[in-house]
Symmetry: D3
Subunit: 208 residues, 6 copies
């Protein structure tokens, strides 16, 4: 027994300082292209690897009757650098997650309640469209436009998982109508008429 | 309008054949280190991107009172090359997913029913242990030993998601006791006594 | 000299078969998530690494007064697996490359003639907009919506380079209006009114 | 000659500051998911790229009659970010490197003295087992359980090389028996009886 | 409209802090193996993504009658982490970019003026050589020796693009003759005679 | 026991077909940018993971008094896709591995016999030079020019390990003088005089 303890000391000592199985995000230190800086291992606890922020429903009292609650590295620091993140989708009947992309990740949707019609469009402009029930999975390849809609009569809940701890989220309507991109330029680059653009800018808070 | 259609033709034509947003697995063609060969895009349908095999509970009528149902690229070909996969965990009260690793991926667990105590051990030999409720997420960093146990009185269900379309799964007990690795060698490399090894080999079907 | 030749034989022999500096695409063999299969090295010539298809101007006689000519791995097989590709942009005065994304790559634009106003929108919905002259470079981070417009009075030419041999190209208007996605679903997921959608579907060849 | 020196000045100047061929670890600066921060190039010397710590035998006077001496980025800072690291294995006759994994790397073993029986177990539960002599190489794929044993009568020495500058090291026995994971939980997740667990916890310094 | 604005607030808020579509280099903060630290997004402007430093010709008044002007992450911080960079080549008639490699990237050359003969040599020692005209592209696979020469009578200009934001640049002659590597060692490792080495060391400023 | 066997069946069955921990090279099937196609797992044996080809000394009876014996994926198929390979260096007294690069990998050298002076040159043109004894390690960052010389009076042996299963090998002298690159072009791109080039071409078997 004495000898084995001795061995233990040797082996553990020898690997001391060499261990970085994970890199819990220190949100206040410098970021790099590979993600956030790592919190010191001595300050890491199991709570860095657990996130309860998706257990409650998001507020669907909006015109889209839906909410997205993210668990990316910024919310869930234990994910940093591990190539995974998550979000919760809540959709009231008829609720919609509008057309959007994740610039840096593919996505899997798991339907846990209700009925969701989801679709994506490929670079070749093919539409992949399906109505999903509880327990179904659907995958959305990286960077492609996709959406989710709760079917009539269903309050739906889904969880989505991404192939990056920081997948990004770009909602097409927000990118086009909720900032200061000049109306004329939006028109030229989308073929939409100015009246339509101005109306949506008005609704979404865009200017110019 | 004529001119725009003309443009469409030009743009679509020019990108013809250059499009590979995804690589749905052709399970019968050669594999490479990056995954399965791709099915021809012309044969791809939305059903390649949808998987319903996790909607039903696995059979927990075993000594571990638990079941794991995978949705890796081999079961869900649309995942191939996208850096994501999934599995469903069913645990009867007291059910156990024994200590295991995924050699090629990190994992997120989402608890959708019951109460699960989960843990992992780091290279530095620290234990990260937590009891999770419905809606909780826990992340298990790549390659580390971890387990999930359903708490007493709870029938639990979880979904796990991986940072690879082919994460692998190595259950420690199976690796040690369910194959033809000689008892003497198992003993030498685990410090377990031969009686214990032989008993577990008997239970798990190992030989030698 | 005899000895050196002898050495040469040894060293060259020893590395025989171990050489794969590149993987020129064999467009007819299976694809994998990492790209096309490799053409046999014995059939590779310098012409596999040279592409002249971007030396001529694209046809800008369309409503967008612009053309995109790609040099992706499908057109330029020597690029396969090397993490690079290219395209040529031709824009008549007022010509427009409409809002689009590249799902799998970042992009650098080099303006070689004229004056181009280019912009992209970030996930945080900030607009980055600039008028570029001959010799200017602009970078568009991976997966983000961006566009290029030739300024009034200028016939402009640009070359774009991508961080993938197969970057993909998704033009937002085509994804929304040039396929069979039902008008109602487009409306629900974009907030556009049905009349606008139907008009653009008409122009771009969409149905439903 | 004047002109060539002039050229030299231009070319060297132009690339000034752009050079980062390596990233020698600054062990006191923030870490990121990609590794340690880089020491300033002006402070880098050849000694950052040389490591003599594996030239002496490790102490094998323990119950496993073996020692592992690592040369990971923490010990050998020049490796940081280069996707390589090393360790030395010393085994007295009958010495054992117990079952373990490297969560983040594949491994090559080079036997430089003696006779080593090594093996690994795949996810499919196949055993790959071989007795190796001086000069033999064996590869252990990423994350899989493996071990090395010195054959009777041989004092053996091996060097192992990893596909990461920080491969991690998880010795199964230590993960199970050398920490505070409750005996009951170890039993539930390994099928081992409590007496066996308590005995090994006693030997290896585990509690609970 | 009120409700939609409400939604906007929810969605934008929820993703607050999770956004890192890019990582503009902060040249004064720590570097990591993945690149420079990121400048705070609040300080990023479009000018970080635009670079005009390649619009003017480099000075070709040197013995090689050529100049290379880089736009790597150190010069063009918006490229950091995006897997792309660029450089401009100016060659007077007969100008030469001597044999060199980029240790960390493949390269595409675009000829925009003149006539350039370019070539690379593979690991198998095959020569790939071609004379390129305006508008031609040529790709040089990662790490291989290559060169570019302006053909007689042509003032040539090219732009090169790399598959890394920090490709590195190693000019063979400089590595051999423009530093303090002892003449004897250069001779032993190149088969060149000492007189030749000393002459080139003299021209290029090497010592020893 | 019955139940446990039942469990085993379930778990093993469920992961059937999903297992690809490794990808042993099938040298006759198509290659992809990620490496060779995988041999069927049913045909894989432990001998695919073991290589004895480096146990014998290479023939140093040549003018460089040295030999390199590779164990890349083409020689050692089990390495395919695992990000590792190896080679053996044999050097008679005064033997030389001439200046060379590995386009696709970093390298660690382990000296197992004798005394080796090794060096590399960085992009910044700094020389990193060291005399190494038995047991010393030295790392050569990816793509940089480096060499190894056996010190006077020593017969030396080293093993090198690479961060790729297919690192490539480009010996500068062979690239310049052992192929059909025209003498005039070699002169223009290296500053060497024609007599020197022709002499080395003669020795190394180059033409033109």
């Amino acid at each position: 027994m004495f000898k084995l303890l001795f061995l233990l000391a040797i082996l553990m000592l020898s690997s001391d300082g060499a261990v970085q199985d994970f890199c819990v995000a220190d949100l206040k230190a410098p970021e790099s292209p590979s993600g956030y800086s790592c919190k010191s291992v001595t300050n890491v606890t199991v709570d860095d690897f657990v996130f309860s922020g998706l257990s409650a429903a998001g507020n669907t009292a909006s015109i889209i009757k839906a909410a997205v609650t993210p668990a990316f590295a910024a919310q869930f620091p234990g994910l940093n650098g591990l190539g995974l993140s998550a979000a919760r989708l809540d959709l009231a009947p008829g609720g919609v997650i509008p057309f959007h992309t994740h610039p840096g990740a593919s996505e899997i949707l798991l339907v846990v309640q209700g009925s969701i019609t989801a679709g994506f469009v490929s670079s070749a402009n093919s539409v992949y469209l399906k109505t999903l029930k509880k327990g179904d999975l659907m995958v959305f390849p990286q960077g492609l436009l996709h959406f989710q809609v709760s079917d009539a009569g269903y309050t739906s809940v889904g969880y989505v998982f991404f192939s990056s701890s920081n997948p990004g989220l770009q909602i097409t309507d927000f990118a086009l109508f909720a900032n200061d991109l000049p109306t004329k330029l939006v028109g030229a680059t989308t073929f939409l008429d100015e009246a339509t653009i101005k109306k949506l800018k008005g609704v979404l808070g865009g200017t110019n």
